[in-house]
Amino acid sequence: MFQGKIKADFIKTIIDATAILVDEAKFRLTGDGIYGRTVDPAHVGMIDFKLNKEAFDEYNCQEETEIGVDLDKLKSTLKIAATEDLVNLEYNKDEGRLIVTIGNLKRKLALLDTSEMADTKIPSLDLPAEIVVPTVELWQAIRAAEAISDHITLIADKDGFQMIAEGDTDVVELKLSKEQLYSLKCEERVRSMFPLDYLSDMIKVARGKSDEIAINLGNDYPVRLSFEMAGGYIKIVYLLAPRIESE
């Protein structure tokens, strides 16, 4: 039996954050909160989120369970709730459905069989550089880059952080010195190239919700983007695989 009451904005954010990668996802309901880990069908992007029970107004979970959710369906259900509305979520094993209550409206949502959904483990990555960047800056760079290219290179060295997108004829470049960053930990220069569409979707989730994004970067290695919201009670970590540049 699970029951939780949460601000619509929070649960919407989590669903949107997962839906950029997959249509169906497995969520783990535990005594501490809700967890989700998923990889997209191309195995290029991954999400690992935690929705702490403190983010909820009410939270009861007696027994740890997993539920399989059709994200589009849940999204359309949540659409009617305004950001400040409270959404009540209820699930018990016997019923087998997720009951979403918004105001006086109740929707019983059929769930998916989780037995054939893979368990995603998050790769442990040795990423030498960590940069904390203002979300606004990242978003502007992504927007500008999308106009000319479909991939972007992230570079960090001991003096700062750079994003470069090269199109057929044009170049977009964002350069942030050490002083313009929230923090910078980088001994040696690192550089990796990533698909813009994924990166754009991921940063869009953080935009307006979290002022800063922590970026862990390596050399031709995946990037880890992490950010928090709701006073740190919602944590989202994205991993993104780099483009293979040479053979």
Partner: protein, 440 residues
């Protein structure tokens, strides 16, 4: 669990048959391993069930490659192929087992496009094959295309594929090898099987390993397989086709897919409804789904009734769409795993009772002729005649008057038929109307 899944080979060396094809495939994979393949993609083609898909997955397992798959169930248009296959093809892989190895260190993901000759191409969207070609040209990862019909794949906009891919043909697997595999499965399942039955299954499947395993599973209800169980496989060839179709209809996620599937299996709606009726409860486990589905089925049946009465076959379309599309959208839950489907009991019992019904009808016709009523009316009276026939004397007179055969008499009076028939023949010879109608 479905045995074809349970016993899917883990390693290429466990795949039976097709030695030459497996060798070719292995050579291609090794080229990738060394970083410089002559062809970046491979086409595995051949008849269904000969091990193409199994080989692709087994290969990935042998080389520890992550698999990205595009199943036939997905709507594989240009956009989806680009989004999944192309994106996957030019990026490193985030593997779900918790490790990251870059392609420089030899890590690969294998992109498998099953049923590549059967892409989703609706009007105006013929970009599927072009998207595949684009993907192969750009890929940094190995790609396998699987097709039943090689020429369907490389025709039209797929012409470019031939030069880009290494084409490997998979041939039918010999019945000897299939029989050996079936025996092994029986052993692992703890089933005692008549070797002759095993050989017969292996022979009948015509080189199709998957259907052989399915056949084996379908008759292996108990722990014994005996010779008489072979008769259950009598309908197999047609059944197999329908079973797949049925599964696709019942599990279809949208109306259109279910309707399309019904066209494909080419069964008339009045037959198809029996199949659906028989197997619906096997598939739909939730009562509310089942109730809704039967609602649609009964509406379809109403249309079938109208077709019959008005002899207007235009109404078949409504029946057909209700019984396929209707029941597909009636479900709110998703069903997975293996379900054993059955031949419609109604058809089976009708076939078994055919002789019985024929005799009954011929009796009714003879009664009707004498009594000046329809055979249907006579059929209603048949139980009463059975009572009258209880008296041997009356029975003989009636039998003579109705001109019943010994077989027909047996149907009415059972063991006494012989005597009564002899008596009736005598009476008939007398040909005296008066005698015949002088009932006591």
């Amino acid at each position: 669990m479905n045995w074809t899944e349970k016993y899917r080979p883990k390693s290429l060396k466990d795949v039976i048959g097709n030695r030459a094809a497996k060798e070719e495939l292995l050579k291609w994979a090794r080229e990738w391993q060394q970083g410089k393949p002559s062809k970046k993609a491979a086409i595995l083609y051949g008849k269904p069930g000969v091990g193409k898909t199994s080989s692709a997955y087994a290969l990935a397992n042998d080389f520890k490659w992550e698999v990205i798959e595009l199943n036939a169930s997905d709507e594989r248009n240009r956009e989806i192929i680009r989004k999944i296959a192309l994106t996957g093809a030019i990026h490193e892989v985030l593997s779900i087992d918790g490790k990251f190895i870059s392609s420089k260190e030899g890590a690969r993901k294998l992109i498998i496009l099953d049923e590549a000759d059967n892409l989703y191409e609706k009007a105006g969207d013929f970009g599927g094959k072009r998207a595949i070609i684009e993907t192969i040209k750009a890929t940094k990862q190995p790609i396998i295309l699987i097709a039943n019909d090689y020429y369907e794949l490389i025709k039209g906009s797929g012409a470019g594929l031939r030069g880009l891919c290494k084409s490997i043909e998979f041939k039918k697997v010999s019945s000897r090898e299939i029989a050996a595999l079936l025996k092994k499965i029986c052993q692992m399942e703890g089933i005692v099987a008549d070797p002759e039955v095993i050989n017969e299954i292996a022979r009948r499947c015509d080189g199709d390993v998957r259907s052989a395993i399915n056949d084996l599973q379908s008759i292996a209800y108990g722990k014994r397989i005996t010779r008489d169980m072979l008769s259950h496989l009598g309908y197999r060839d047609r059944e197999r086709e329908i079973f797949t179709g049925l599964r696709n209809i019942l599990r279809a996620k949208e109306m259109r897919a279910a309707i399309r599937e019904a066209w494909r299996i080419d069964e008339s709606p009045d037959n198809l409804i029996l199949w659906i009726d028989e197997n619906l409860p096997m598939e739909y486990k939730y009562p509310d789904d089942l109730a809704r589905a039967y609602e649609f089925l009964s509406r379809a049946d109403v249309f079938l009734g109208r077709v019959w009465r008005r002899q207007y076959y235009g109404l078949w379309g409504y029946a057909s769409e209700l019984m396929t599309g209707g029941i597909a959208v009636a479900k709110k839950h998703e069903y997975r795993g293996f379900t054993a489907y059955h031949f419609p009991k109604w058809l089976r019992s009708m076939a078994a009772s055919k002789q019985y019904r024929q005799i009954r009808l011929s009796i009714a016709k003879k009664i009707g002729k004498v009594m000046h009523c329809s055979s249907r009316k006579a059929l209603e009276m048949l139980p009463m005649f059975k009572k009258l026939f209880a008296d041997a004397d009356t029975a003989a007179r009636l039998a003579a008057r109705f001109d019943l055969t010994e077989e027909e008499l047996f149907f009415i009076v059972g063991d006494k038929a012989k005597e009564i028939y002899a008596e009736a023949e005598k009476l008939k010879k007398m040909e005296k109307q008066a005698v015949l109608f002088n009932f006591k």
